[in-house]
């Protein structure tokens, strides 16, 4: 299911790399090299996602973003930036972007975030049944209960939030930094593998006593909740 993505990026090499990668994923990508043109396209056509470099010529990324939001355009925006300090990230997020990714990044990280943002705009439309189903896993966000194959699973509040985030991105790769940002709301990089330990605990609770694994590790990228394959 290809989606329309606008890429505003002045660095030729990064842009080619992203266009190629996203096109391979089945999306159609429109690329412009400066902010003014980006704003022009974003307001003129409808896109499912905008990937916006923070420092582009003519009009900087955050100004483009402000102009878009001022025109009440709610297209999800992923900001790319070489400004990597925590305060820069906070500033980027507070200026109305939906996600902030610092350069350099791996394509896997970008793709995971792009998919999460596309999923969010999708699910805004349809969610009649509030329950989340992943294979034989059933999550009730209202009651905050989890069952697998009908058997209830006891989770701590943080484990529940972790699982809910996985479930809302079922079948998609979720990276460690995404978990840290979305589940813990921390925007720094902890030196240790705290996240992995949380995930493996959750995995034990979900998979102990069951034959088939449901929470998979994706090498070099992160984790994925869902059926194998």
């Amino acid at each position: 299911m290809g989606r329309k993505i606008l890429l505003v990026e002045d660095d030729r090499e990064t842009a080619d790399y992203l266009v190629r990668g996203l096109t391979e994923e089945g999306h159609s990508v429109e690329h412009v090299g400066d902010g003014r043109e980006g704003l022009f396209l974003a307001t003129g056509q409808s896109f499912d996602l905008i990937i916006l470099d923070r420092m582009v010529p003519a009009l900087d990324g955050l100004s483009v973003l402000k102009a878009l939001r001022a025109a009440s355009l709610e297209t999800p925006v992923l900001v790319l930036s070489a400004l990597a300090s925590v305060s820069d990230r906070i500033e980027g997020l507070e200026s109305g972007s939906d996600d902030y990714l610092t350069k350099p990044f791996s394509f896997a990280e970008l793709l995971a975030r792009v998919n999460a943002l596309l999923r969010r705009s999708e699910s805004r439309a349809a969610s009649a049944d509030h329950r989340l189903m992943v294979g034989d896993l059933e999550i009730d966000p209202l009651a905050r209960t989890v069952k697998r194959a009908g058997r209830p699973i006891e989770l701590k509040p943080r484990e529940y939030r972790l699982l809910e985030y996985f479930a809302r991105n079922k079948g998609r790769v979720v990276t460690r930094t995404m978990l840290l940002e979305q589940v813990w709301d921390y925007h720094f990089d902890p030196g240790t593998n705290v996240i992995d330990v949380h995930v493996s605990r959750l995995r034990r609770k979900l998979e102990d006593g069951f034959d088939n694994p449901i929470l998979h590790t994706v090498r070099g990228a992160g984790y994925r909740l869902g059926n194998p394959g």
Partner: protein, 449 residues
């Protein structure tokens, strides 16, 4: 036209003395003028009435005798005469009067005496019987002479004072110029890149010494910062060599690898090395931003108890896996803190990482409590601790106590914690947990307005 500073200050001083002395001299001149005029006036009236009394008690002959007596005293300023009704002198030393001659009272006019030039004078006229007039008066010559002398003296005094003003101004200017030049010389040398110079103190503890002291302190601070910066860039360049070297080695090995599985494993290592390199750079950047106080705009009120509880919850699994017990120690009545949640969390997470890396085993205490005006947030472990003499090195960016102690660490952890403490107007306190290390952010608490 630009005058040298010394000359300008001297001229200014001379002008100011001139203005001040002009005011004084003018006042003296004005007072003495009035005074001497009044003196002549009183004397003339008094002497006139004395003669009038002689006439009133005696007769014209007595008056003539009295006049002759007084004139006999040969006061060159004094004159007296009897005038007939037409104003012609009948007796006395007056030849002619240029001025009123038949109106009683005090007058100013010109008097001609025998054998002398006419003089400006004040005189009184009193009527006598038979239409005659008694004239008695004094010339202004003495007063004019006195005033002339006074004026000359005052002018001379004025000239001397201007000269003295010039000299004083010049001496003062030389002094100021010398002191300023001392400072300027040091500034020049510093500008040329030699940071070792300091402004000499005169030891008089005056304003110039105060200024010199301030400049010296500023130079000390700048010097220390430059040294820190130099050390930092040296360390950065040096410390980046080894991860980049490892990166290169792994890439070389991967390129040479025959089988795909091994190559993939080596590339995973490459990515890992690249990530840790990025982490070092991000942390250096973060420290720089925090020390520059840039993130203060993102401060908000937060609950420190909640902050440490969240971190305890986050670290609990990994701490447990390391075989350590994590104790959350929250003091009573925790005041809210105005700060940067992300950076505080990062700082405390660095302390937790350190404790996990260096102090495996025993108990790890994550604490937050208030003490009078300060709040202490931090971690206490049961590891080997840091000896007091090593604590400064531990805080330094890229400071490493010994290579064996820090597997993979870049020596930035505590430097970042300290930068975050500074950002919050606080300090990083390293203490002894007997045994172990207590590392705490000591932050000032301030009331919520």
């Amino acid at each position: 036209m630009k005058l040298p500073t010394g000359l300008r200050v001297a001229l200014l001083a001379a002008m100011l003395t001139l203005a001040a002395n002009l005011a004084v001299v003018g006042f003296i001149r004005w007072r003495t003028h009035d005074e001497s005029a009044g003196l002549v006036h009183r004397q003339v009236i008094e002497e006139g009435s004395v003669l009038d009394d002689v006439y009133a008690t005696g007769d014209e002959a007595a008056l003539r005798r009295a006049i002759a007596d007084i004139l006999g005293a040969r006061d060159p300023q004094y004159f007296a005469a009897l005038l007939d009704h037409g104003g012609r002198p009948k007796a006395g030393n007056v030849v002619a009067v240029e001025g009123p001659v038949n109106v009683a009272g005090y007058h100013v006019g010109r008097i001609v005496r025998r054998g002398a030039a006419p003089v400006e004078a004040a005189y009184t006229l009193r009527p006598l019987a038979g239409g005659d007039w008694l004239l008695s008066g004094r010339s202004f010559a003495q007063r004019v002479a006195f005033e002339n002398t006074l004026e000359r003296s005052l002018l001379l005094a004025l000239a001397i004072s201007v000269l003295l003003g010039l000299i004083a101004g010049y001496v003062l200017a030389r002094y100021v110029d010398r002191r300023v030049r001392d400072i300027a010389t040091v500034a020049d040398r510093i500008g040329d890149g030699d940071m070792t110079h300091r402004v000499p103190l005169s030891g008089s503890d005056d304003a110039f010494d105060g200024l010199a002291g301030q400049i010296n302190r500023m130079l000390d601070r700048i010097g220390a910062l430059m040294e820190e910066l130099r050390l930092l860039t040296d360390c950065l360049a040096h410390d980046l060599r080894s991860p980049i070297g490892r990166l290169r080695a792994r890439i070389d090995a991967a390129m040479a690898a025959e089988d795909d599985g091994r190559r993939e494993a080596l590339f995973a290592g490459v990515v890992h090395e690249a990530d840790s390199l990025m982490r070092i750079l991000t942390t250096v950047l973060e420290i720089g931003r925090a020390e520059a106080m840039a993130p203060r705009g993102q401060f908000a009120w937060l609950d420190p108890g909640e902050l440490v509880a969240e971190l305890a919850e986050m670290y609990e699994p990994i701490v447990e896996e390391a075989g350590v017990a994590l104790v959350l120690d929250r003091g009573p009545a925790l005041l809210p803190l105005f700060g940067h949640r992300q950076l505080l969390a990062q700082a405390i997470s660095n302390l937790l990482d350190n404790a996990l890396n260096y102090a495996a085993g025993g108990e790890l205490r994550l604490f937050a409590y208030c003490e009078e005006q300060t709040m202490r947030l931090g971690v206490a472990d049961r590891g080997p601790g840091i000896a007091p003499e090593d604590r400064a090195e531990a805080r330094r960016q890229f400071g490493r106590l010994n290579a064996a102690r820090a597997p993979g660490g870049a020596g930035l952890g505590l430097a970042l914690v300290e930068a975050v403490a500074h950002l919050h107007h606080g300090q990083l306190d390293l203490g002894d947990n007997a045994p172990g290390l207590i590392a705490a952010l000591v932050l000032p608490v301030r009331g919520r307005e």
